[in-house]
């Protein structure tokens, strides 16, 4: 009985008119979804390819191929809906621990798919999507890397949407890289500012006016004292010839006397930036997804309720995280629509609670009412 039903279903769905009807329905649903608020950035953790393959008695690599097909479908839905950035977890650094033939297979898969993307490049062009590879490039094999760079270069001009492929990626490595490059940034001296006003001249003016005046203990130099010390230290690191002299002079002279400050001011333009100026935004700029809008939705399939080192920095604030039971190759519009609907519903809900919270929902709200 069940067999005949499934056979009938297949016959109907896989016949050309059946397919046409299904496609029309998809278009209709996507078009309808587009009427509401649409997430700007969606991340997928594509989990379950191997379990899918196992349950269908396939080769593991074929499970991954099916996973890629599912990804293509989901990407299509996302871009049609108007999602700007789709980020997918294609390969984790930890995945290198998998059996060698599987890693080999995944590399081959990535290579072939990206090659196809570059040869038939207009697939992504139609959606105006560009490809970016996020992750530790140095771990990728040369031939794969070459194809990847080609794909990235081929789609670079597209600016409507972005496909971020995390390959090989872990979030901790990403954060480490961000921290390292922030530190690196703060190691290079700030370029001297090109203004007609020289700080040393201004300082000299102030000091001379104070010295001319009656006040023996000026109040203004008191404040930049800390800064002055910093500059001394920094220039000690940078400029060895003056360094020794500078330190000794600042050590011997009583604090508050104008001399050392004046001198440090003369080459103060080459000082290092103050590390206290590092903020969340500084690090954010060095995160792989720096130019992308904040992550709205995080989807993980196959029922595992962990982040597994994916998008930790991006999703720990107000991203809505969805854990789904189905395996990734089965993930399609029929599953994703629930995610989107629930997200839209929550947006509406939070909108109702604090009406002025998000401007982009206002349009949707007016349409829903």
């Amino acid at each position: 009985m069940a067999d005949t039903v499934s056979l009938l279903r297949r016959l109907i769905l896989e016949s050309p008119p059946g397919e046409w009807a299904v496609n029309q329905l998809r278009e209709l649903l996507i078009g309808a979804l587009k009427q509401g608020p649409i997430p700007q950035h969606v991340a997928f953790e594509m989990d379950g390819n191997r379990r899918y393959a196992r349950s269908r008695r396939m080769e593991t690599v074929e499970g991954h191929h099916r996973g890629f097909e599912a990804l293509a479908k989901i990407m299509e839905i996302c871009y049609k809906c108007g999602v700007k950035v789709v980020t997918v977890y294609a390969f984790s650094i930890e995945n290198f621990n998998r059996p060698k033939y599987e890693v080999e297979g995944l590399m081959q898969l990535a290579k072939v798919k990206l090659e196809q993307l570059t040869t038939y490049g207009d697939i992504l062009d139609r959606y105006g999507a560009c490809v970016r590879i996020l992750g530790q490039r140095e771990l990728i094999r040369d031939d794969v890397l070459e194809v990847m760079d080609k794909a990235v270069a081929r789609t670079k001009h597209n600016n409507k949407a972005v496909l971020n492929i995390c390959f090989p990626y872990t979030s901790r490595a990403e954060m480490t890289t961000a921290i390292r490059s922030t530190v690196q940034e703060f190691l290079s001296p700030t370029p001297p500012k090109n203004t007609p006003f020289s700080p040393s001249r201004i300082r000299q003016k102030i000091l001379s006016s104070q010295l001319d005046g009656r006040e023996p203990l000026p109040t203004i130099p008191d404040e930049p004292l800390d800064g002055g010390e910093y500059e001394d230290k920094d220039s000690y690191e940078d400029k060895d010839p003056y360094g020794d002299e500078d330190v000794s002079s600042s050590a011997t002279l009583p604090p508050g006397s104008p001399e050392p400050r004046l001198r440090s001011g003369s080459y103060g333009s080459a000082t290092l930036p103050n590390p206290d100026n590092i903020t969340v935004d500084t690090i954010e700029r060095h995160i792989y997804t720096a130019n992308d809008p904040p992550l709205d939705i995080f989807v993980r399939t196959s029922g595992v309720e962990r982040l597994s080192d994916f998008m930790l920095w991006q999703c720990h604030q107000d991203t809505h995280i969805f854990f789904r039971k189905c395996l990734w190759p089965d993930f399609d519009l029929k599953d994703f629509i629930w995610v989107l609907l629930e997200w839209q519903w929550r947006q509406k809900q939070s909108d109702r609670e604090n009406p002025s919270s998000r401007s982009r929902n206002s349009k949707a709200r007016s349409m829903m009412e």
């Binding site: 649903l29 649409i38 984790s92 072939v112 290092l272 590390p275 500084t282």
Partner: protein, 328 residues
């Protein structure tokens, strides 16, 4: 639209044979057939202005189509609202019933029996507690402390050695002595005189009590309080320190490794928890330290809005059945 079944079959066969079956042209034809029309797709996502422009250019048909979309959208959301409302009601009732069924009766033996069969328990449990917006601050703090004490006691009963509580605003951290008192009170209520020892800790703060008494034979619980400050801010702090050190030439940026950062953050802020329990209706981490949740099992009871023992128990059961693969 997706690739048709026939084409999919051909494509898959081609894949299996190492991309030797189809010619370039055939493959291209498959892709071409499934592409959207050039003016379709993301053009529609533009701003309202583009919408209007297109509508006027393409006339009535576009307009009608849009109307259909709006209608279907309203319909979908109508149905979805109904679905979610009934789901919430159903879950509400189900959770009420199970909270009656799994009541702990403030007896450690019951809790111990509940967790006895589990094949693994978290060594470090973490939970996110929320301040309620519309409540008065004072009662809210009382509620938070009460919940913390409650949770700490369950952990002590289940012999989980470490519990960390994340509360965004950091109000719990400010009241460490009060939290300590409340937990000890709960301990005595549950265990009587022979209760486990407790230490309340928090990053950048002295432990409480400052001097640990000798470990009692009834176990020990470490209660760790964290807030939003210990999330991204702690990473920023670490970066500042590292930048400062490298400016002084004490370290080189190459020395900054994942291990170093991990060691610093897990010692200074919070070690990686095994299980994170949320008492919110859906998963939202609201600023929980990002570095530490890498492999943490996240448990959230769908549509649940209450703080209760049954959530704790379900989380432990769920944790026991979850398997760790670590990328394999």
């Amino acid at each position: 639209m997706p690739i048709s079944v026939r084409d999919t079959k051909a494509y898959r066969a081609d894949e299996r044979h190492g991309h030797a079956l189809l010619t370039e042209a055939q493959r291209q034809a498959i892709f071409k057939a499934s592409l959207p029309a050039p003016n379709d797709g993301p053009a529609g996502m533009n701003s309202k202005g583009a919408h209007v422009q297109r509508r006027s250019r393409l006339g009535v048909r576009r307009f009608l189509k849009n109307q259909v979309f709006v209608f279907v959208f309203a319909l979908m959301h109508g149905i979805f609202s109904l679905y979610i409302k009934s789901r919430q009601t159903w879950h509400g009732v189900a959770y009420q019933i199970s909270s009656i069924l799994y009541y702990h009766h403030a007896t450690p033996q019951y809790i111990r029996r509940d967790v006895e069969g589990l094949n693994k328990k978290p060594k470090h449990l973490s939970a996110i507690l929320k301040t309620e917006v519309d409540h008065r601050a004072k009662t809210d703090v009382d509620r938070l402390i009460e919940e913390t004490a409650e949770l700490a006691t369950w952990c002590a009963c289940a012999e989980i050695p470490m519990l960390s509580i994340y509360e965004k605003s950091g109000v719990l951290k400010k009241h460490m002595p009060r939290v300590y008192e409340a937990v000890i009170q709960k301990f005595t209520f549950y265990f009587g005189a022979e209760h486990p020892t407790l230490s309340v800790t928090s990053p950048h703060r002295d432990d409480f009590p400052t001097r640990m008494l000798e470990e009692s034979k009834h176990g020990h619980l470490q209660l760790h309080l964290i807030s939003y400050q210990d999330g991204r801010e702690s990473i920023v702090d670490l970066t500042r320190t590292l930048a400062d050190m490298s400016q002084r030439g004490k370290i080189s940026p190459r020395d900054i490794s994942q291990e170093l950062i991990d060691a610093e953050l897990s010692e200074g802020i919070l070690p990686e928890p095994d299980l994170l329990i949320l008492f919110t209706p859906y998963v939202e981490l609201s600023g929980y330290p990002p570095w530490q949740i890498r492999l943490t099992e996240i448990f959230c009871l769908q549509d649940n809005e209450t703080f209760g023992y049954q959530v704790f128990l379900r989380a432990l059961r769920n944790f026991a059945s979850a398997q760790m693969r670590r990328g394999k």
